[in-house]
Subunit: 209 residues, 2 copies
Amino acid sequence: MGVDKVDIPRKTIYRLSIYSRCLKRLHENGMKTVSSNSLAQVANVKSAQLRKDLGYFGQLGTRGLGYPVELLLDTIRDVLGGATLQPVVLVGVGNLGRALLHYDGFRKEGFEVLAAFDVKPDVIDQEGLPVPVLHDDLMIDFIAAKGVRMAILCVPAKYGQEVANVLVNAGVVGILNFSPTILQVPDQVVVTRVDLAMELESLSYFIDQ
Amino acid sequence: MGVDKVDIPRKTIYRLSIYSRCLKRLHENGMKTVSSNSLAQVANVKSAQLRKDLGYFGQLGTRGLGYPVELLLDTIRDVLGGATLQPVVLVGVGNLGRALLHYDGFRKEGFEVLAAFDVKPDVIDQEGLPVPVLHDDLMIDFIAAKGVRMAILCVPAKYGQEVANVLVNAGVVGILNFSPTILQVPDQVVVTRVDLAMELESLSYFIDQ
DNA sequence: ATATGTGAACGGCTTCACAGCC
DNA sequence: GGCTGTGAAGCCGTTCACATAT
């Protein structure tokens, strides 16, 4: 790992995922090499930005020629740690939680949802769910035993903080938070909030008129 | 509408939703007034930022005292308010689309999903879904007839652009895009991308070690 | 004394523009 | 000629710090 993580901007990391997706398509189409200009166009960014982003990871391109598609893919995979299969738990099997359990995008990107937890696992129809739904009480032990470091939080706003505290105490250091709550967590814990209603709200604000 | 929309930062609009949620709690607890300091703490922002954000909408506070909770709530509702009661359609009733149809957060914030569309509505189990699932072919007429301006896009990456084109032609100007594709759209169309796998990916990057 | 409103400083990401290399 | 790599400039949002109001 040649580059210190702290000096790579968060936004660059976000864009790496995008580049990766675009590169996969190019690769499938048999492209061997790509210029910053054409890749940037597909990814909807400026070419200079793309070059800056890639610059964090060394000299990957050849002047006058472009970037080798495969090298780029490998490098991004390396940086994002796609090699390893990260174990994850999901907490709160309501409508949204249930939906996310069916969502296969996580697995595709190398994450494995090991189990789901809920306060009332007995009243949940587990038919067709790809993982067991366990009682919240088992959460701490499970997380510790499996060495889980990331959690997807889908409980109602009211319980968000409470459950987050438990997760953090159990050893979770990354939370993807779908509850509409602002979580207060220790510095070493990273929280990403995804508030679907809010996204729609702000979208509607920005459409003209 | 005293303030021009264009000069209010997108991030401020995002934060307004957060403030609104926090204020609702304070209001329920009978608080009449709140200082930028205490509200900022709950919302997890700096107090100066909160004051700057509110500053866009006039002089709302009283020096030495703070902000009236109710006035703040009304103001934010007003600003985001044109937002609400917007009719929306959802396209792509796979796992994720299906899930989002069950998600009640949208309705709570004033959005009504009128209908869903899919290429194969006949093979979709419509049991228990709150809206009809219609064939894609009906989409254009439906959108025009109902004056729909926003769409939630949940089709596979492969079809994202194609469907987006149809939506835009039909009159949609705001797209909440859950497909892992970068959409190319005309300038007047606003797209917000929500890429769940990407969120998890970048989260995993930023957790220490 | 307390808390807002805001110009100024700061910091970080984006874009430009060009030197350097193929 | 074409394209990368990168210092410099530009831009925008955040934070500071203080004048101002109650």
